[in-house]
């Protein structure tokens, strides 16, 4: 019976090629546009580290100028913390994973064993503690992160991104090999598997859609190498000192990100009280003169607070769903027209004994068939749409193929087109099956 209905539907589609074309084009456009922008929004707003985002907390301390808040438009502590406070709170007695960090830029020198030419090139570097890798579920292809000893001794070890390892070592296992960075020799301890979180959740202070850095090295190299931040630095007071390390320890400039992993509520409470106790201690030394405002914020909340998802993506997703509504309305009208034009034939079938149910089903099957064909074209369209978005997005974030249609989105598109077919078809199919047969027989 279903097969028979499908055959009838197919015949009907072929009988009016232009009208069928219009209908299919309508669904295809609706599904294509909606899938494109909902995928884009999903990519930008989905949880970047599912299962763990609730355990990772960003630390902020209000060490800012007593005379004025950090931001006049947005109350709260500074976005980042000072070097001296990072050193202070790292000494917490609470056992936890934690990392302070910042990004910089350094020259990488290809040497004889490398596969690229001789000219050094600049790369983004992140200086962090060994906990960085397990905390953020960073995937490794070869080797691993460094250990606590390397943290303490500021060893010259480095973890390379997959892309940089491809560039320097042709993708081979380079663990144990040497890379020259900023005029020093570093030992490779690990190579990452390709890693591209859609949101750079561990550092939201600048472009939230930037890609991770290409080199990772121990944070404590900051003093011996005199590494300067390539990120945001804000200051309200600091010594005019020529000595890098002295300035580092005394400035009130905020420029470091700090993350802790706190899986239980008790740990969160404990850490929060620790921060407040630290701030009160600092108040005795005439620092932290502002009202006590120390915060630990989980990943998703921070993304929300700092508006890591562009507002435009939200508007576009909303608009594209309205677009789908228009396409569906369109469909109802077209089906209605098509079916009612067939009323005399339906009258004959009904007179010959076809039940209302059979007529209804027959027409619904036709709607679903057209819906699926339209959905298939819609998927093709959304591939095109995402390719276009990717082309422009490459310019913004330097990443190829940022937006990808995944299996869930393909399923969604199929369901969407089935739903569109059903929703658009029910009313017209009901109208056609409820026409009294006699009316259309009279004239024959």
């Amino acid at each position: 019976m279903l097969l028979y209905n499908v055959r009838l539907a197919w015949k009907s589609v072929l009988r009016h090629p232009v009208l069928s074309g219009l209908i299919v084009a309508g669904i295809a456009l609706g599904v294509g546009v909606a899938t494109t922008f909902v995928t884009a929004y999903g990519a930008l707003s989905s949880d970047p580290i599912p299962g763990k985002s609730g355990d990772l907390f960003y630390v902020r301390l209000d060490s800012w100028d007593p005379a004025a808040p950090f931001s006049s438009s947005r109350p709260g502590p500074p976005q980042q913390i000072t070097y001296r406070d990072l050193r202070g709170i790292l000494k917490t007695g609470i056992p936890l994973r934690q990392t302070g960090m910042f990004k910089s830029r350094m020259y990488v020198y290809p040497n004889a064993s490398n596969t690229v030419g001789d000219r050094p090139f600049q790369q983004q570097v992140r200086l962090a503690f060994s906990d960085f890798f397990p905390m953020f579920d960073v995937p490794f292809r070869y080797g691993s992160g460094w250990d606590k000893t390397a943290d303490e001794r500021a060893e010259q070890v480095v973890v390379l991104s997959a892309a940089l390892n491809d560039r320097l070592f042709g993708g081979a296992d380079s663990v144990g090999k040497t890379v020259r960075v900023a005029n020093r020799d570093f030992r490779v301890v690990g190579v990452l598997a390709p890693w591209r979180p859609k949101v750079l959740f561990y550092d939201l202070t600048q472009n939230p859609n930037a890609q991770p850095e290409d080199l990772f090295m121990p944070f404590n190299l900051v003093e011996p190498m005199e590494v300067r931040s390539n990120g945001n630095i804000q200051s309200w007071s600091g010594p005019d000192s020529d000595d890098f390390v002295e300035r580092l320890h005394n400035t009130e400039a905020v420029w470091l990100q700090m993350w802790v992993e706190l899986p239980t509520e008790a740990q969160r409470q404990g850490y929060k009280s620790f921060l407040d106790a630290y701030a009160l201690e600092q108040k005795k030394a005439s620092r932290f003169q502002r009202p006590l405002d120390n915060r630990i914020t989980p990943v998703l909340e921070l993304m929300e607070e700092w508006e890591a998802v562009p507002a435009q993506a939200k508007s576009l997703a909303a608009i594209s769903l309205l677009f789908l509504v228009v396409a569906a309305l369109n469909l109802i009208g077209l089906f209605l027209g098509k079916f009612l034009a067939r009323a005399p034939i339906v009258g004959v079938r009904r007179a010959l004994g076809a039940s209302r149910r059979a007529i209804f089903l027959q027409h619904l099957v036709e709607c679903e068939l057209v819906g699926l064909i339209g959905g298939a074209f819609g998927l093709l369209l959304s591939f095109g749409g995402l390719a276009l978005l990717n082309r422009v997005y490459r310019v913004i974030s330097g990443t190829e193929g940022f937006f990808q249609l995944d299996a869930t989105m393909v399923m969604t598109a199929i369901l969407l087109s089935l739903a569109a077919g059903a929703l658009a078809g029910i009313y017209p199919a009901w109208r056609i099956c409820s026409i009294p047969p006699a009316r259309h027989l009279k004239n024959q």
């Binding site: 007071s237 005019d240 027209g337 310019v395």
Partner: protein, 412 residues
């Protein structure tokens, strides 16, 4: 005109015409709001900087060779670079400055009027983008000074080897900064101080730039420029190069080749300002492109719908049309009937659409920082829908008008 009969005919086909009305209304609401988003993004994209963007090249050089860390070597390098750049055919002027327009990001410092230090009020401080530049900056940028002069060669000889900026006396500021520091006017020749925590010193305003726009937070038009070489903080030496009109891409290659030849211990990046500007606006451009696409497709879908429904409406009434024709109606009368019917439905939809558009706009303004709807945009949207409606209905209506009167006499 047959308003009455058309209206009564419409009420008999409520479902079908309700669909067109709803579709037109939603389309108007979406198109008007998309257009509003597009207009505000485009205003941002095409905002003039006040410089001759087309004629400028931004050159950043990043040294890696050890010998370039020495102060004297840097000074010699800059002097030699500038001389060499000026000698390239097609180069009109070159300036050693870390002010590269549209780079996005940079450094701000707080400035205040002198004497306000005692009774310190953070509201008196004005955050300004700050850069260093040699005397050739104004000429290279193509900006005019509304008062005063640029730096002298002598003022430009500043030791930039230390991290902390040496507070030297003369500064150039933008007109907007001058007006904010000295609302009563006559800023030229006055002195200002760095804000609390921004260091010591006293700066004399020796010149004021006219129009100046370089996007950066709240200080896009608020700029202060110090004399001196732009190679501090290990950031490399940057140059702005002004080229003869229309030659920027050819000269860009020359510039890059020359700088790499002159000193191999560095990397060189040459970009045109329109390139940097395009990159700066890439997110807005992505939005505009997406919205344009959505709008065009939406209009397409809606017109497909109108074509389909009018075609059906015509097909359904073949015999009535035949009868009317047989009774003496001209082809023009039939055509007019369908076009008028379409116009009435579209107008009804547009009326509803205006209300929807305002509602949607209120939502967008509240949830994002979208701009308010302008009545001109809505009016243009209504006009667009009328045009599309008539255009889409024309084909089926013409076909209807060509139906022969003899149809009326046939049975089916």
């Amino acid at each position: 005109m047959e308003f009455g009969p058309i209206f009564r005919a419409l009420t008999r086909n409520r479902a079908r015409f309700f669909l067109i009305v709803a579709e037109v209304a939603l389309t108007l609401a979406i198109v008007a709001n998309c257009a509003t988003l597009i207009l505000s993004a485009r205003a941002e994209i095409s905002r003039p900087s006040g410089f001759d963007d087309e004629a400028l090249l931004a050159v950043s050089t990043t040294p890696f060779a050890e010998h370039l860390a020495v102060e004297e070597a840097k000074a010699q390098r800059v002097a030699a670079d500038l001389a060499g750049l000026s000698a390239i055919p097609g180069v009109e002027s070159a300036s050693n400055t870390n002010f590269l327009p549209w780079r996005g990001g940079g450094t701000t410092m707080a400035l205040q009027r002198p004497g306000s230090g005692q009774s310190r009020n953070p509201d008196d401080e004005i955050g300004a983008q700050f850069y260093s530049a040699d005397p050739a900056l104004a000429e290279t940028l193509g900006v005019s000074l509304v008062g005063g002069r640029t730096f002298t060669e002598e003022e430009n000889q500043v030791d930039t080897s230390v991290f902390v900026l040496q507070r030297t006396t003369p500064i150039l500021i933008s007109r907007v900064l001058a007006e904010r520091l000295f609302p009563e006017g006559a800023a030229l020749g006055k002195t200002v101080q760095p804000g609390e925590g921004s260091g010591e010193g006293e700066f004399t305003i020796v010149g004021i730039f006219d129009r100046f726009y370089n996007p950066m937070g709240e200080s896009s038009e608020v700029v202060v420029i110090f004399p001196g070489r732009s190679d501090m903080m290990g950031a490399g030496m940057d140059y702005l190069v002004r080229v003869e009109p229309g030659k920027s891409s050819a000269v860009a290659r020359e510039v890059e080749a020359f700088l790499l030849r002159a000193e191999t211990g560095r990397n060189v990046r040459v970009r045109t300002i329109p390139e940097m500007r395009g990159q700066y606006h890439s997110q807005d451009r992505l939005l505009v492109a997406s919205l344009n696409g959505v709008m065009a497709l939406l209009v397409l879908v809606t017109s497909l719908g109108i074509v389909g429904l009018t075609a059906f409406s015509v097909a359904e009434r073949r015999r009535q049309i035949g009868t009317r024709r047989a009774l003496g109606a001209t082809q023009g009368a039939i055509l007019r009937y369908f076009l008028l019917e379409n116009w009435m439905v579209t107008s009804l939809g547009a009326l509803l659409g205006i209300a929807l558009a305002i509602g949607l706009n209120v939502g967008l303004v509240n949830f994002t920082d979208a701009a308010r709807l302008e009545w001109q945009v809505v009016a243009a949207g209504v006009f667009l829908l009328w045009t599309i409606g008539l255009g889409a209905a024309l084909g089926p209506a013409l076909r209807g008008a060509r139906i022969a009167p003899a149809i009326a006499t046939r049975n089916v």
